[in-house]
Subunit: 284 residues, 2 copies
């Protein structure tokens, strides 16, 4: 397989840097092709702005979505963005690796999403009719590919548990897993999350590294998070609200958007938002 | 009152720009002092990196949290970051205004948080004991101040409703409202959200503007989102998990962290995650 890792940590000698090396080594050992977009090393520009749309007239009002659409269609996106789009089209698997800063991705990685996920490429794709509402959430340009987050957190795992004060990690990552990755078509694997990274130490590193190697070995076969396909019949059109009665009793919030039918048998080995035992956690 | 608006849109002639003007005018008419941090106009740098810590040795390993702590304590943060910290200390109310891009804030605003919310200022504050776990989530440097989001979205309000395919807007904004604003001590007001902004048109603008003016008039008196204080006795220490039985029947996920005791009488006029009628929405 072809794997793209987008890496967003400013220090190669960090735990993140060490885990990147572990992932790349294991993937190569398995015979996969690997590319790494090291955003800090590339000097990635984070801000969507006029400079992204050289064909926009100097006095013309910048409408970011419209400008993105026009530039994508005309092939006038900047070369750094085009190069990332080429990598996304090349890769069978996309891995986003980052430290959790303020409960989300670092600005540089958000800027990679904001700039690379162009209109006509990652959104604004497909027909709108009474049968479908664009190609998104299970359809889209990147359909048939897989994606996964590799995340390090300074906080305790319990603080990110179902009742933990930070909120459940799966809910915190839902805007990324569902809103950024599933949206343009990726099947999204459960995240690999390492906690209390400042206290990990040398003795703690090897079990985490081995956990990550295992996840790299399972990239092709792991069960994705069972998000519901938008155009699969579960949602009303055009309100895009989940039809009544499809959810598990008591489910609400983000958990509504998981198809957990027949889930009893998978419970405990499958990712599950807002309910069952925790999935893969490298930190312990 | 003193109000700081942090504004994150690249085009002054946008709907966001027009709403910024509306908010500033109304606040001044009411006699408030207003400062605006216009991040694009300031040329804000988004990425946390070595350049943020001039006192770090060239060959020294960058540990972002440790470097932030050291620089904050020593007064060696960069001047752009120091200026924003001064504004935060000055303001009684903080407003973050941005377009919702990929279900979160634009990279430039995330970079403002990543860089300005320094260790020792916005996190890593207070004692850890068997009675409290640092000053956060209801305590902290910014306690006694209020904060609020002003957000524009291209999508439909229904798509962000309790059963909508994007997930409920309050859950999507929880990592910001709770994780970024409530964490360092702000009381957080319900967000002002405008939907379908690309279709708003001139006729649609005035009702939205009036809705925003009303919210500006209510900044001092509006009921904040009733997040639970971390050190108020609701959480176990050190696991920081919500004690059993405190939540509403059936509540889970982010909604656990709302104190909805005695909420029956407030229902419908108060923000409520994952349950009751929607709050302030400007777009319709």
């Amino acid at each position: 397989m072809k794997v793209l890792i987008v890496f967003a940590h400013p220090e190669p000698r960090s735990l993140n840097g060490a885990l990147l090396d572990v992932a790349v080594s294991e993937l190569k050992r398995l015979g996969h092709d690997v590319q790494v977009s090291d955003l800090y090393a590339q000097g990635w520009k984070s801000e969507v702005g006029r400079g992204d749309f050289p064909s926009l007239g100097q006095s013309e009002r910048l409408k970011p979505a419209a400008a993105s659409k026009q530039a994508f269609e005309a092939g006038t996106l900047t070369s750094d963005v085009k190069a990332e789009i080429e990598k996304l089209l090349w890769a069978d698997v996309l891995i986003l690796q980052f430290p959790l800063w303020w409960f989300s991705m670092p600005a540089i990685l958000k800027g990679w999403v904001d700039r690379v996920f162009a209109y006509g490429f990652a959104y604004g794709v497909g027909e709108h009719s009474d049968k479908r509402w664009g190609d998104r959430y299970g359809d889209g340009t990147l359909k048939g590919k897989r994606a996964m987050l590799v995340v390090t957190a300074g906080g305790w795992e319990e603080h990110y548990s179902d009742r933990g004060v930070n909120g459940p990690i799966d809910d915190l990552l839902f805007p990324i897993n569902h809103g950024i990755l599933y949206y343009p078509g990726y099947e999204v694997l459960p995240p690999f999350v390492v906690y209390r990274v400042d206290r990990l130490g040398d003795a703690g590193f090897e079990p985490v590294a081995e956990g990550l190697r295992q996840r790299m070995r399972g990239l092709a076969t792991a069960e994705p998070i069972p998000f519901r396909r938008q155009n699969g019949g579960d949602y009303l059109i055009p309100s895009m609200q989940l039809r009544a009665g499809l959810e598990r009793p008591g489910a609400n919030g983000f958990a509504l958007h998981l198809d957990q039918a027949g889930d009893a048998g998978r419970e405990g080995k499958l990712h599950s938002l807002g309910s069952s035992p925790r999935h893969a956690c490298g930190g312990r």
